[in-house]
Symmetry: D2
């Protein structure tokens, strides 16, 4: 059974056990017997509604106790952030940093709360932050910011599609006016168009103040679409407020060269001595490891080149009330390490489209807001600074993981921390073999 | 200022305000003045250590109250899942379903806990679940399962690289034996190799029982690598336990055709009447909308074709203690809608590599375990069933969003729920205009 | 030997035969013994120089006869299109069409010369052209046109990179003036910038008249770069006239949403009867086949969705003197088939960036120019029309291949034509089994 | 008109001139008036048939003279390689090398014929070959070889799809036997399967002797598919001999990690002095330029990392009778440059799937065969050697272009050669400014 078919056959045998394939396949059939009661949904959020929902589904009281009763009584505060609430999830928050960030918007020393359940994650980012702070902080800069929404319009012919575009581009100021009726914070700044046969994609680009802004741009685009359908001299056969071109919640190559969220870069020049002290590696070893990792990523068909942006992003997004699903689209970008002429390390990360805000979404919930306040980044006027801190954090994480891989400490750090035996400082964690617990 | 340069100049002017570019650039310089104290890291997790950490960073007592003191005293339970703990994050959990799943491993009606802070997410998945349950449930099937780790080896020449491979492939049974010394659950099932110049990537493929298994395969691979370096007749100049080829935590094209986590598909045949009743759309409208969305995604350079896998995945991963960072790699796949010969809708989702487990990682933490238990999917023997429920949930979500887009309800549902005014059943939510609150 | 390692081991055994790996590896070593004479290069093209080169390398007279002496004596006409000329390649040209194209620039019936050595290619495109002509022609439209060149600049810091950009964007009119000094046909129309750490990519976008224009924009960009290096207040450490961001000669996702060559779409609405008559298939069968093919392409990680653009493109590029290497970047795009409400087929192709010209490059060589003249598309004012005909041709090819696959004729047509037994009309070729030779 | 809409509006205005959009759109309508005569197709290739075809389409006698009459009378030799032949295309062939290749199959000094009409291409590859030969030749190695064909099968449900797979994998030896009935050279070596909802993709992998093999595997797969449809216990609703998963004629990410054609790598270690002498650059400058180019390519969403594989590939494919359309899929891979510890340059190229053969297709045509014979690579037993020479050539090209870019000679070389004024040796071409013409 050489070859891939052998593995597939082994898998099938393992799954089936003694059952025949036909018998197993029977289990997959739809079954209309004894359909369960599906509760009505509810956007009213309160402890009472949650209890009623538990009653309705007949949930185990012990679980209800853990998920609902044991939590602080703050469920009503989640109104507008969830539906059908039945309780509250708890995740630990670990601290990385303080990280010194020299940004255009961020400027100072930021303690960084990270929510995760994965061993070694906070430790790894923490030692990266410690290094960056030791060199006087990283530089970080938001390079552009806007959020897009891309409605789709279907016409009879490509000719009609082109007529539509010529008309629509001439309506830009009117579209701006319409968008402004639905939002006080968002502003339409550009529209691009793409024709595929008789399909037209318009890509509306907005600034969204300090909100991440996905909902804001959806509502504004709906207002524009309503007007388009009513007024267009070439009536679309069908239209959709979003055509899936925007990149919303999906890793996409387009983000590198067009606008989606905040483009941000962070960098540092790090002397060899500090690499040795904090990361137990050398600039040359790290640049070599980066090179092979860069190509490894390319060979696997990733978008961009990086190590583990998703780890830090997910943990920071969760702690600060960002949309966790946006990790899918935000965890894309480029990490670059070089040995400099003076023998040090140049390191940078660039993220083409992170979706962060300091108002709206989950940013106002009790613990999430507290995390933002701990960083001094809650409320209006702070979103760009949050993006810069985010980039700095990811730079710290890339430095730490590449150092661990290049120095052979990666597996050891995970073994030690995941098994709960790590006890000393973050910087000695990767040196499990030679440091006391 | 026609063209893209105009937008860039506008952005620069907006950011700079009255400041000169030179002056602004000064802010980005490293600054070694008054470096902050960076606490030693600690893997010891307890309320006392957390308090000490708050003292050390001088955190605001009001924030400490929210993040640490107000939470149930369970911090020590997180030992081994985090470091530098300073408190506990709270997120609401909403209920979707029960969803009937006719899987090979999953079989029954599953209430699905979703942790999110995004309005409309639970409502949207809930109405999809309601529909799928009404047709007797979706079919779902794990098609393969294994987790890979891809160490990298650097040689002087490609010739040495090839000699190494010939040797290494002959050691497979020995590698299996070595892997078994580090884990009782994981089993090495294959190794593939890829040569790029003088670089060799080995791709080790493991089964990992009911654990998601990333750490397990890292440790096993480290043991193998240690032996390789010691015994190989062609000594690598450098090696790394992971070369970034594995796809770990990054969306990648490779997952479609090679092994990474669990491949899973879910599908349903849905009569037009139920589409009309539950989603207020028609099979033809939905298939048309799917087609434009599929191409929209392709044009934006996404991997695969789908709508919003990340939303449901992130919410379910969080609720059940999966690694949230894995959303980046898991939220990739294919959704397909077709009008069937009898005028109904065929709908399927296929995910080439989701990373889920029912033991290990965050699955044993109090609320996460409670969520798994609510689904009846906690502990050994349940991982494949969890994967099948996960696929069913995402199918529900794809049905719901495409219906909302095709029927023009997408923006309205978000407006209503995000602003906290939605109150009735999930299925009427998207019909804000014509249903009473 | 289950699994992939088994296949690799089998391959190694097959290649090595009785040789040991070590012995085989020895063959790969550099060998400085008896290095061959490498002729000086020469851009002077003539029969005499070619003969001298044959003498210099000691080439077999029989081969010289075939490659050099037997060809018409026109070698000197290739001066400026090649170096070190030693002869002339001959490829057959087949005729597809005439194809009726209703374009904005192209309007009429175009016989299409295709240069290829692959059996069935011309036959397949020909029957597609026949069908499109029978419906009154396809519609075709160039949606935008410009060629980009993307120089790269390296700075010490990201801060310097940003200062540079602010300066450079302010020089746009000066850059336009500089570009105009190097070319009478090209015009600089926009510049965009992208920062990655301390790297700056500028993307200059030009119109290039009726030339494909790659060389034109290179020279213009060099003039701009020379001025930038001299005048910039922030001096780059290094710079390159092309940074590999432009997409030149490489399939790239970026082309869908930014400018590169000509964006063009072609479409047709085709009644079911004509599908039956010309392609022996039905709209439903073809739309079903398209859907599976679309997803198959996505699963394999292609850019866009299509069947075989490269076949028609390569053959037309060769016949008309386009740069054959540009097939790599041009053969990207989207094909879409739908059953229309009246039971017919809607079919379209969209190519985001084809590189075609009717002046410059190889378009003036004897046979290439003759092919352009056969189409009535030689010289100035014809490039957009050529692009529209090109899109129409590819639409014909997509219709033909999907029909052959959906009707099960694909393999039969290839067998018959490749084995030289096909003799009747193109439309019956795919029906090998039931039609006389 | 800031922003992208401005550029689009400018384009529309330029194209429309004084015409109204509505009027222009009218031109795109199908037009059934005076449909042209479309000749019957013909696979019979001869000068007489060609003349008849010219008569039939009423082609200009002057063009017929150039394309048909002036060519050597060898048209009948193209029988089985084209249909509807009307003449012969002529392209110049330039010589690069000889290139010394130390391969496993290739071993010696290879003069390399390149067919192109692009100035500077041959000169650039020639100087790269000169350098590689001067270091004793490059190493090159085919790492695996097989060609795949991926039929698609549509079932009612995913459950049926799985039943089908279990059955089909058990038929492997029978499939091998069936394949062998259609070809004496091809051999089925593996089959993999992929399920997407109720769709099954089987991926058949064949060795194909010394042929490129696409037709061979199509015919063999058709035989297998015919048997499958007849014998399968679960009958597919529809099936296609190719599902577009194979990657045929399209750049695809899948080729890196699965089989498609020949995987090949070439490499060299080059002392700094020879870089200086032949390329007028330094290892450090070249490694720096490579790094920025690598990231530039990644940012543009290319597959792999390289400079201009398509240039050399297309020219060599054409000269040696390979399928030019395969440039689209073959021109993908990884180039890597590093400064070595001794201050030299390590350079490698790796191509995951090139499609080359030395028998079949266009390899037997007069000039194409002559080119293969000039290299000593015509006929059976030579395909792997051709692949190794091909990789060596591309390595030469990557060295040359990166050197030109890093040293600022890129634009100058193109200007000089394209304008026909370059006259001296290849190695001085890039030094237009300081060397006499």
């Amino acid at each position: 059974m050489t070859g891939k078919r052998g593995l597939t056959q082994e898998y099938a045998a393992r799954i089936l056990g003694n059952e025949s394939p036909q018998h197993a396949a029977e289990r997959l059939r739809p079954d209309l017997q004894a359909l369960p009661h599906v509760p009505d949904g509810s956007a009213q959020i309160s402890r009472e509604r949650a209890r009623a929902l538990w009653d309705e589904i007949g949930g185990d009281p012990a679980l209800r106790e853990i998920l609902l009763e044991r939590a602080p009584d703050e469920l009503r505060l989640y109104q507008g952030n969830i539906e059908n609430a039945i309780g509250v999830l708890r995740m630990p928050i670990g601290l990385a940093g303080p990280l010194r960030v020299n940004g255009f918007a961020a400027k100072g020393d930021y303690p960084i709360p990270l929510a995760t359940t994965e061993a070694a994650l906070v430790a790894s980012y923490h030692r990266g932050c410690r290094l960056l702070t030791a060199v006087g902080g990283c530089s970080a800069l938001v390079l552009s910011e806007s959020v897009n929404r891309a409605p789709g319009f279907v016409f009879e012919t490509a000719a009609e599609a082109c007529l539509f575009i010529v008309w629509a581009l001439g309506q830009f100021e009117e579209f701006q006016r319409l968008a402004a009726t639905s939002t006080a914070y968002g502003q339409l700044v550009d529209v691009a168009c793409l024709v595929e046969g008789n399909h037209v994609y318009l890509n509306f680009e907005f600034t969204t103040g300090d909100a991440s802004g996905q909902n804001m741009v959806t509502l504004a685009t709906q207002v524009i679409c309503d007007a388009i359908v009513e007024r267009s001299p070439v009536r679309p056969k069908r239209h959709y407020v979003e055509s899936n071109l925007s990149g919303d919640k999906k890793a996409n190559a387009r983000s590198f060269t067009t606008a989606r969220g905040k483009k941000v870069t962070a960098e540092a020049h790090i002397p060899a001595e500090l690499i040795a002290k904090h990361l137990r590696s050398t600039p040359q070893e790290m640049a070599d490891c980066w090179r092979m990792s860069a190509i490894g990523g390319v060979l696997s068909g990733t978008l961009g080149i990086h190590g583990h942006f998703a780890n830090g992003l997910a943990a920071l997004y969760l702690a600060t009330g960002q949309d966790a699903a946006c990790v899918a689209e935000s965890a894309v970008g480029v990490t670059r390490f070089e040995v400099t002429e003076d023998g040090g390390l140049y390191a940078s990360v660039t993220l083409p489209g992170i979706m962060v805000g300091t108002v709206g979404g989950g940013t106002g919930l009790p613990t999430q807001r507290a995390c933002l306040e701990l960083m001094g980044l809650s409320g209006t006027g702070k979103a760009r600074a949050l993006a810069e801190v985010c980039a700095g954090l990811l730079l710290a994480g890339e430095l730490s993981i590449i150092a661990a891989l290049s120095a052979g400490h990666f597996a050891r750090a995970h073994r030690k921390l995941a098994r709960g035996r790590g006890t000393k400082t973050a910087e000695t964690w990767p040196l499990a073999a030679d440091s006391p617990p």
